[in-house]
Symmetry: C2
Subunit: 203 residues, 2 copies
């Protein structure tokens, strides 16, 4: 299956600017992208990066400077069905969680993200189109209904956890055993649970 | 299997005080408890509520005013193994997610919560004891290792989502189709995704 991985190559992860400078955010975003691409390849599928600008990456890269929604709809309309879309900021992604996503029955299979987004989906329906603005899980449910496509939701915390804010880095340090957690440790991040809640600090 | 459900009957869900008054928080906590108890019973197991004070509930209730950790360890040490513990504030809990928890192999099976907590676990080992303070998923991993118990983690967003803060109510409105979401709708809550992120409002 073709699995598209959209990637913001210009100004990624701005909500991490309180803990990472601009160069670090770009490097961290690239480490997450590489991790996602490798996991997709390890699951036996073809990762195809869809970047807003040229980048250096192990996978095939298509450059499209448009916003996420038209860029993804364009590649989906040309791809053999079923086709997948997996976000580039899912450091807890595992082969097993991808197998649950790719193996689920349904014209449209969605892994919702924390906060109402859509972190990954598989489309096997000619009329379905994505719309990533706002609470996109809700929108995708409606779009599926409007075009008569059955929709299945995959229940996975590993697929639900996208990295947007500093608190998300704690989840990576706690649950990831790969290159993304390694990068955070090398850059001085550690979990602080001393006040009863998990936060990250960079002493 | 005996499945214990700890419940704070005195001052539950204080972190929701910006959107719910004290009486509403108690009522909402009870609706969530009832939902968890019913889902455990529907999965074919015996829900046993462990409350800090007497409450009115469909399930058997044991009252223990001590903190969570000693109260749970006390009932676990007396219960036939395997025994389960499921938190009372998991409105997305489903029979299917519980089946994945109860059906997983391992001396200790844990469903981590968002933020590093432990939302549900199954214990089939005489020496394992819980410790719910701080980043308890990390602590439970260490305790299992210390007593030679194998540990399995269940990857489920439905088990990971506990309700602590107002943002969590959006997840309930988006993904729950039962009594907890109904209660929120009846009390005027709705999702607002107009600025691109999901928030809840009570107009």
């Amino acid at each position: 299956m073709h699995v598209f991985v959209p990637f913001d190559a210009s100004e990624p992860k701005t909500r991490l600017s309180s803990v990472l400078d601009r160069a670090e955010r770009r490097e961290f975003a690239t480490v997450m992208l590489d991790s996602v691409v490798e996991t997709i390849e390890a699951s036996g599928h073809d990762a195809k990066v869809l970047a807003t600008a040229p980048i250096d990456c192990e996978a095939a890269v298509t450059v499209d400077g448009r916003p996420l929604t038209p860029a993804v709809n364009d590649v989906l309309s040309d791809a053999p069905m079923p086709a997948g879309v997996v976000m580039a900021d899912l450091p807890l992604l595992s082969v097993r969680s991808l197998e649950r996503l790719f193996g689920a029955a349904g014209d449209v299979v969605i892994a919702p993200g924390v906060g109402g987004g859509t972190n990954a989906l598989v489309v096997d329906h000619d009329e379905f189109r994505v719309d990533f603005h706002g609470v996109s899980y809700e929108d995708h449910r409606e779009i599926a209904q409007q075009c008569g496509a059955s929709l299945t939701t995959v229940d996975s915390f590993r697929l639900a956890l996208d990295v947007d804010e500093p608190a998300d880095l704690g989840e990576v340090l706690l649950h990831d055993t790969g290159q993304v957690a390694d990068w955070l440790v090398e850059h001085g991040f550690e979990i602080d649970g001393s006040d009863g809640r998990m936060t990250v600090e960079r002493p």
